[in-house]
C-alpha cells in the first residue's frame, strides 16, 4: 500500500490542483488524502484497483476544502493553463486557457468524467469503478461530455477566430 500511495502521488496532485487551483494547498490535500487512505487501509479491497479507491479519497478531501472556501477563488486558471507564450506559441497557450475556462463552466458530473479521462488518464474500466457505473455507460457519457466541452469551446471568443465557430 505504501508503494501504491507513492506511485499515486503525481496523479493525485493533478486531481487536487485541477480542483483546488493552488499548488501548495494541493500538495497539502494530497498529504491529507494519503494519511486518510493509510488510516483506512483495512477498508481497501486488494482485489480491486488501487487508484480509483484513492482518487475518491483525494476528491473528498478537495471538495471538503472547496466547501469552506469562497466561491470566487475555486478556479485559478493560471496554474493549470499558464500562458507561457514564448515557450510554445501564442495559439497553444490561448487554447489551453480556453479549454480551462470551458471546463470550469461545465456542470460537475460532466466536468468530472473529463477530468478522469483527460487529466487522471484513467481507463474506461477505472472510470467505471470511480463513478460506479457500467463500462459501456462510460463511453457514451464521455461522448456527451466531450461534445458539451467542444460546444462551450466554440463559443469562446479566443477559439472562434482560429477554429471557425458556428
Amino acid at each position: 500500500m505504501q508503494d501504491d500511495l507513492q506511485a499515486a502521488m503525481p496523479r493525485a496532485y493533478i486531481a487536487a490542483v485541477r480542483w483546488l487551483g493552488n499548488p501548495d494547498e494541493s500538495r497539502d490535500a494530497c498529504q491529507e488524502a494519503a494519511v486518510k487512505a493509510w488510516a483506512s487501509r483495512s477498508q481497501f479491497d486488494a482485489k480491486r484497483p488501487f487508484y480509483p479507491w484513492f482518487y475518491r479519497i483525494v476528491r473528498n478531501v478537495c471538495f471538503d476544502r472547496l466547501r469552506v472556501r469562497p466561491r470566487q477563488v475555486t478556479m485559478t486558471t493560471d496554474v493549470v493553463a499558464r500562458d507561457d507564450s514564448a515557450e510554445d506559441g501564442l495559439i497553444a497557450g490561448q487554447r489551453r486557457a480556453a479549454v480551462q475556462r470551458a471546463m470550469a463552466q461545465l456542470p460537475e458530473p460532466t466536468r468530472e468524467i473529463l477530468e478522469l479521462r483527460h487529466f487522471q488518464d484513467l481507463s474506461y474500466d477505472e472510470i467505471a469503478e470511480v463513478l460506479g457505473c457500467p463500462n459501456g455507460t462510460v463511453m457514451s457519457r464521455l461522448y456527451r461530455a466531450r461534445k458539451a466541452l467542444a460546444q462551450k469551446l466554440e463559443r469562446d471568443p479566443a477559439v472562434r477566430k482560429d477554429g471557425g465557430g458556428r
Binding site: Q2, L5, Q6, M9, P10, A12, Y13, I14, V17, R18, P23, D24, R27, D28, C30, Q31, E32, A34, V35, W38, A39, V80, A81, R82, D88, A92, R95, R96, V99, Q100, L114, R117, H118, F119, D121, S123, Y124, M139, S140, L142, Y143, R146, K147, L149, A150, L153
Partner: protein
C-alpha cells in the same frame, strides 16, 4: 446524409481519441468518416481537445516532478515499539533509583515518601507528554511543506 447508427460511431470515436481502438474498429470508423462530414468534424474537434489537455496534463506532471510529493505516513508500528522500549527503560531506571532511595536508612521516612511520590508524578507526566508528541509528529501534514 447522417442515417447511421450514431451511437455506434460515437463509441468508436471515443476509442479512437483515447487510443483504445483495435484495427478492425479503426478501419470501420475511417470508412465512415470519409463519407460522414458530421462525424469527421466531431472526431477532429475531439482529437484537438485531447491534444490540448495532454499538453496541460504534461505541464502539471512536470511541475510535480520538479518537487516530488512523498506520502508522509504515520509510522505508528515503529512508534509503538519505540515507545514501549522507552517506557520500559524509564520505568526500570526510576524503579532502581526509587529502590535505592527507599532502602537508604540515612534519608528520613517522610522525605522518602515525598520523593517517591514526586518522582512517580513526574514520570507519569513525562511519559504522557512523550506519548502525545510521538503520536502527533508523524501525522502533522504541514511538516514537509513548511520547509
Amino acid at each position: 446524409m447522417t442515417s447511421h447508427d450514431h451511437e455506434h460511431f460515437e463509441i468508436l470515436m471515443m476509442k479512437q481519441v483515447d487510443g483504445f481502438i483495435d484495427a478492425a474498429e479503426r478501419a470501420e470508423l475511417q470508412a465512415h468518416t470519409t463519407d460522414c462530414a458530421t462525424c469527421r468534424a466531431e472526431l477532429r474537434s475531439f482529437t484537438d481537445l485531447k491534444t490540448t489537455t495532454d499538453a496541460m496534463r504534461q505541464r502539471l506532471l512536470d511541475d510535480v516532478a520538479q518537487d516530488p510529493l512523498r506520502p508522509d505516513l504515520p509510522t505508528r508500528a515503529i512508534n509503538t515499539v519505540g515507545f514501549l522500549a522507552l517506557v520500559s527503560a524509564a520505568v526500570l531506571c526510576c524503579g532502581w533509583i526509587g529502590w535505592l532511595v527507599w532502602t537508604d536508612p540515612k534519608i528520613p521516612e517522610i522525605l522518602r515518601v515525598g520523593l517517591l511520590l514526586a518522582g512517580g508524578i513526574g514520570l507519569g507526566v513525562f511519559l504522557n507528554v512523550l506519548r502525545l508528541r510521538l503520536r502527533a509528529a508523524p501525522t502533522d501534514p504541514y511538516r514537509e511543506i513548511d520547509r
